[in-house]
Amino acid sequence: MNRRFSLFNATSLTLGFAFLYLPMVILIIFSFNASKLVAVWGGFSTRWYGELIQNEAFLDAAWVTLRVALLSSTFAAVLGTMAAYVMVRGGRFFGRTLFSGMIYAPLVMPEVITGLSLLLLFIAIGLDRGIMTIVLAHTTFSMCYVSVVVSSRLVTFDRSLEEAALDLGCTPFDAFRSVTLPNIAPAVISGWLLAFTLSLDDLVIASFTAGPSSTTLPIKIFSSVRLGVSPEINALSTLMIGVVTIGVVVASLVSKRAIARQQKDEQEARRT
């Protein structure tokens, strides 16, 4: 009994979590600090949140970030799903292994390199840097996450369902739309949420691909911090932590619950 939660386990758990979350907890606490001095506690207040709402520059950046995240995660969901479908269902075709390896490469590619190469590309083709370039860049790196999530669902998805749809008169696209998609939707949604949160908090790639008129929130925060940490930044960061946390939690819940349920249904449907 005691074994299951020994002193050692408790200690390592505490240390681990402290290591991960203490900085964030401090940041959140200080975002409610009444004092303007960052390191001195002057009592509880939501003053900085109020000031934040007045700050046009931050609001603009937030709006840019939100639009970029919505667009890029949607593109990534579509492209990532298509890529996953081809890799799982496409059968064997020339260069399949290379193709699947290349889709996953951005997962391990240093962001600086992704950012830099995209910057060079945009310059080479003469694309003015702005919201659209950030959207393209974010789509590029987040679609591989979507494709990982979606293909793990597709491999467990009973192929004969698609064949049954074809047999009953669907074109291959209709079969995908009316049978495959409804059944892999939870995975696509959780992939979309993942892409959304990745886009929200990306600094490196956005810095390379943003133009002067398209500052995202992480860029804005980073540049203001260089002039000194203000409590306002703490408040903003706290809000971002909140949004990202919600996104990630919802994404994992959606995929876990729905995938588990559907697999159970399929298993039951197969058993008699």
């Binding site: 064949e163 047999d167 669907c170 209709d174």
Partner: protein
């Protein structure tokens, strides 16, 4: 079933003028270097209930998938109504398939599953509603229309799959081991249900099974397959009575096989020398067999008569001792050992109470049969 006296006999395969619904012309299917179906020729006729029978892995599913359009033939052509179906994609074929796993759409209700194919046909919306109800009634699932597939039992799911594949009134319905997952009682009920539905709808059915009893029960004709080849295609009774090979004889039901050398007697009568000190077996064959051909004589256990004294009026008679008796309820199987060590099975209907049984272990008995009771097999 079909040789019912009141009806005219349904046998388009023996009518040379009849045109088949499906014709396989030298069809082969290779997966890499592996040949799953080898140079197969087969005609299937309209309104037939055709059974493909064979051990697992012999190519039955592959054959079905070529008909449905999920696999292309490697060689040869398949004609449906005289048309080559190779260029027709699965969604354009007048063929529907009931999948081994049922493949019901988990996100759709029973009614929507059945309506799925109809919605993709030119049928009017109001007619679709009627057709779905008709189908639900046919498979007796009216009360379950709104349920999802995981909310109904296995037997019900199987009926939904059947209704869904019948809804579009296909020319040809393919059933891939449709009853494989059902228990014996439900399975037998469903077999009769299938035959009933087939008769009422007039659809041509091709059923895959590895259960020989099932094939014999439902089918108008049975094709026995082995390693991608057809061994015999015939009516169930002929498959049972006159198998064309040891493989078929052994695959369908129980049989006694005796190996020996042939010597012709007269016309179609032959003698089979099979053991020292035993009289030769007298049998008949339509084939011309040469002196000394190595053959098997095959005879069903129920064709052997068992008696205490050798009868005088039968062409063949051997004697031995009863080694074992298997009581099967409606009948008993006697395993009789002959003096040369060969054992034969004889099956006798138990139309008397068990206490009045005539023979018991170690009794000396005679087994006898007529010259036409068995078949001589050359392969």
């Amino acid at each position: 079933m079909l040789q019912d006296g009141s009806k005219s006999i349904f046998a388009p395969w023996s009518d040379p003028a009849a045109t088949p619904l499906i014709r396989f012309q030298s069809v082969s299917k290779k997966f890499g270097h592996f040949t799953a179906v080898n140079d197969l020729n087969l005609d299937i006729y309209e309104r037939e209930f055709f059974a493909l029978l064979g051990p697992s892995g012999c190519g039955k599913t592959t054959l079905m998938r070529m008909l449905a359009g999920f696999e292309a033939t490697s060689e040869g052509t398949i004609l449906l109504d005289g048309q080559n179906i190779a260029p027709v994609p699965p969604n354009k074929r007048a063929v529907n398939m009931m999948f081994q796993s049922y493949a019901l759409f988990p996100h759709l209700s029973v009614a929507d599953n059945i309506a799925f194919g109809l919605k993709r046909s030119p049928m009017a919306k109001s007619d679709i509603q009627d057709r779905v109800e008709e189908m639900l009634k046919l498979v007796r699932l009216e009360q379950f229309a709104r349920r999802k597939p995981h909310q109904i039992s296995g037997g019900q799911r199987q009926r939904v799959a059947l209704a869904r594949s019948l809804a579009k009134a296909p020319r040809l319905l393919l059933l891939d081991e449709p009853l494989g997952a059902l228990d014996k009682k439900l399975r037998q009920d469903t077999q009769f249900e299938l035959m009933d539905i087939q008769e009422r709808t007039g659809t041509t059915f091709v059923i895959v099974t590895h259960d020989q009893e099932e094939a014999m029960t439902v089918a108008s004709r049975v094709a026995v397959m082995d390693q991608g080849e057809l061994v015999q295609v015939d009516t169930p009774d002929r498959i049972y009575e006159t198998p064309n090979s040891v493989y078929v004889a052994d695959f369908i039901g129980e049989i006694n096989l005796i190996e020996g050398n042939i010597s012709p007697i007269e016309a179609d009568r032959y003698a089979l020398d099979w053991a020292e000190g035993q009289p030769p077996i007298i049998g008949t064959s339509q084939e011309m067999l040469r002196e000394g051909t190595r053959c098997h004589f095959a005879i069903r256990p129920e064709k052997l008569a068992i008696s205490a004294e050798p009868p005088t009026d039968r062409a063949n008679c051997v004697t031995g001792t009863i080694l074992d008796i298997a009581y099967l309820g409606n009948m008993s199987t006697y395993i009789v050992e002959l003096s040369n060590g060969q054992t034969l099975k004889a099956q006798v209907a138990n139309n008397r109470r068990i206490a009045r049984r005539t023979f018991t272990w170690n009794d000396q008995v005679s087994l006898s049969w007529t010259d036409t009771a068995g078949v001589i097999l050359t392969r």
